[in-house]
């Protein structure tokens, strides 16, 4: 009888050890903010306390996942879950070549990102959660009205190939989270909940605030412009898509 318990306990210790190797998370305290897009009448959206990975998922992390879930390797993945560019920069199913293992994994479809997180007992963050964490700079929870902060984000949008950098080299924000800006774009759970004006889809709510005015460039315009870029990018995605600058990290409602 005790043996059984012992085995069970050992099983858990091992389980815990495996988890410890995975991405560490930090707690994000409940709060509210008015996102650029997605709240009715500009009312604040409440983000409940949750946990988020400190870093985006790396090529190394993803390789471990693929070895356990070979169905998601580049030659095995079903067409409905990923397009042809899925992991296109990998040499083969279980080999990402001689790139730095600590660089973020990209060219990942939403299905693969979602599956990865599920396999860690986690999930993808929602857009609101992601944006809430991303509005913090080193000091403030909401740095969106700071000119410097916005300039930093926008200057990154102009840089190319930042996906070749290792994780954790950008600034550590108020929550202790790295790389929300400056490394790669990231998948969110509900990326397909955006309706942007000018899209061909009819009959949806529009948000006139999405468009920047002409020449005036103050901090608020910069902030809206940076956020607009992210929302526009998300709205252009389909779940099978994968591009070289799009990675992901996981979140969780409870501590993992």
């Amino acid at each position: 009888m005790y043996k059984v318990i012992l085995i069970a306990i050992l099983f858990f210790i091992q389980k815990g050890f495996i988890n410890a190797q995975q991405n560490k998370m930090v707690q994000i305290q409940e709060g509210s903010f008015v996102p650029l897009y997605g709240s009715t009448d500009k009312k604040p959206v409440v983000v409940k306390t949750f946990f988020i990975d400190i870093y985006p998922i790396t090529n190394d992390d993803f390789l471990i996942f693929l070895k356990k879930n070979p169905g998601f390797s580049k030659s095995k993945i079903k067409g409905i879950f990923a397009d042809k560019s899925y992991l296109s920069y990998w040499e083969s199913d279980f080999d990402f070549g001689n790139i730095n293992p600590k660089t973020p994994v990209t060219s990942i479809s939403w299905f693969a990102a979602k599956k990865y997180c599920e396999c860690q007992g986690k999930r993808l963050p929602t857009i609101d959660e992601w944006e809430y964490v991303a509005m913090a700079d080193e000091k403030k929870i909401d740095a969106r009205s700071k000119t410097e902060f916005n300039k930093y984000i926008l200057s990154w949008y102009e840089k190319s190939k930042t996906y070749e950098n290792s994780i954790g080299k950008t600034f550590k924000n108020h929550w202790g989270v790295y790389d929300m800006h400056g490394l790669v774009w990231e998948w969110t759970a509900d990326y397909n909940s955006i309706f942007l004006s000018g899209e061909s889809r009819k009959d949806k709510s529009e948000d006139k605030n999405l468009f920047c005015g002409g020449a005036s460039v103050n901090a608020t315009d910069l902030m809206n412009y940076a956020a607009f870029m992210r929302y526009a990018f998300r709205s252009s995605l389909k779940a099978q898509y994968s591009t070289r600058n799009l990675g992901f990290r996981c979140a969780s409602t409870t501590r993992k």
Binding site: A8, G71, I80, S193
Partner: protein, 198 residues
């Protein structure tokens, strides 16, 4: 004590639930599930009768699907009207090979009972109509497959894309009609052609 151990193992098993669902060994007669088939999705659904069904059970039919929610006042009645307009133009001979399916984007509100009364109120409570709901997560995933975007904007209101999707018997998306009250000629033609192949 035994109960505790059992509980521990059940929890432990749950932790491993991410394992890929083994595609159930297909019998030699059955066609394997193709790469682009929605039947690769393991998700479980409930219909308006409260019966649990797996998507896979619809394999072999031509599916015409639309995502709606029953408390919707604006676009959904028109989407249902569009679906009905399609039904009217289906070939009588091959209609039996077609299923017209409404999928709820509001599974919290749209209980099977709600779906049932919606079906009755809209005269959809008979073959070939099926009303489905699943978990919020499965619904989000299914919408991702259909490239349908939706967002809850208030407790009883959603924004959503107006797309009617046609799947062949293998579960592959073969046609989408976008917008409200648009010309459905091509949609109907696609469905009838596909249903004739049986």
């Amino acid at each position: 004590m035994k109960k505790i151990i059992l509980a521990i193992f059940i929890i432990a098993l749950n932790l491993q639930s991410c394992k890929e669902p083994k595609t159930t060994a297909t019998t030699s007669k059955e066609k394997p599930i193709t790469d682009l088939s929605i039947y690769n999705l393991p998700s479980k659904w409930t219909n308006q009768e409260g019966k649990n069904i797996e998507l896979k059970s619809l394999k072999g039919k031509v599916l015409v699907m639309v995502m709606i929610y029953t408390s919707c006042k604006a676009a959904c009645p028109r989407l249902v009207a569009d679906m009905r307009a399609i039904e009217e133009k289906l070939d009588n001979e091959t209609k039996k090979n077609v299923k017209l399916i409404l999928v709820s984007i509001d599974p919290v509100t749209d209980t099977p009972q709600k779906l049932k009364s919606f079906a009755i109120a809209n005269k959809l409570n008979h073959d070939p109509w099926i009303l489905l709901r699943s978990t919020e997560e499965n619904t989000r995933e299914f919408a991702a497959i259909l490239a349908v975007n939706y967002k809850q904007i208030s407790p009883m209101e959603f924004s959503h894309s107006n797309i009617i999707s046609v799947f062949n018997p293998d579960g592959e998306l073969i046609y989408q009609q976008e917008g409200l009250a648009v010309n459905n000629e091509k949609t109907v033609e696609t469905i009838n052609q596909e249903a004739k192949k049986f």
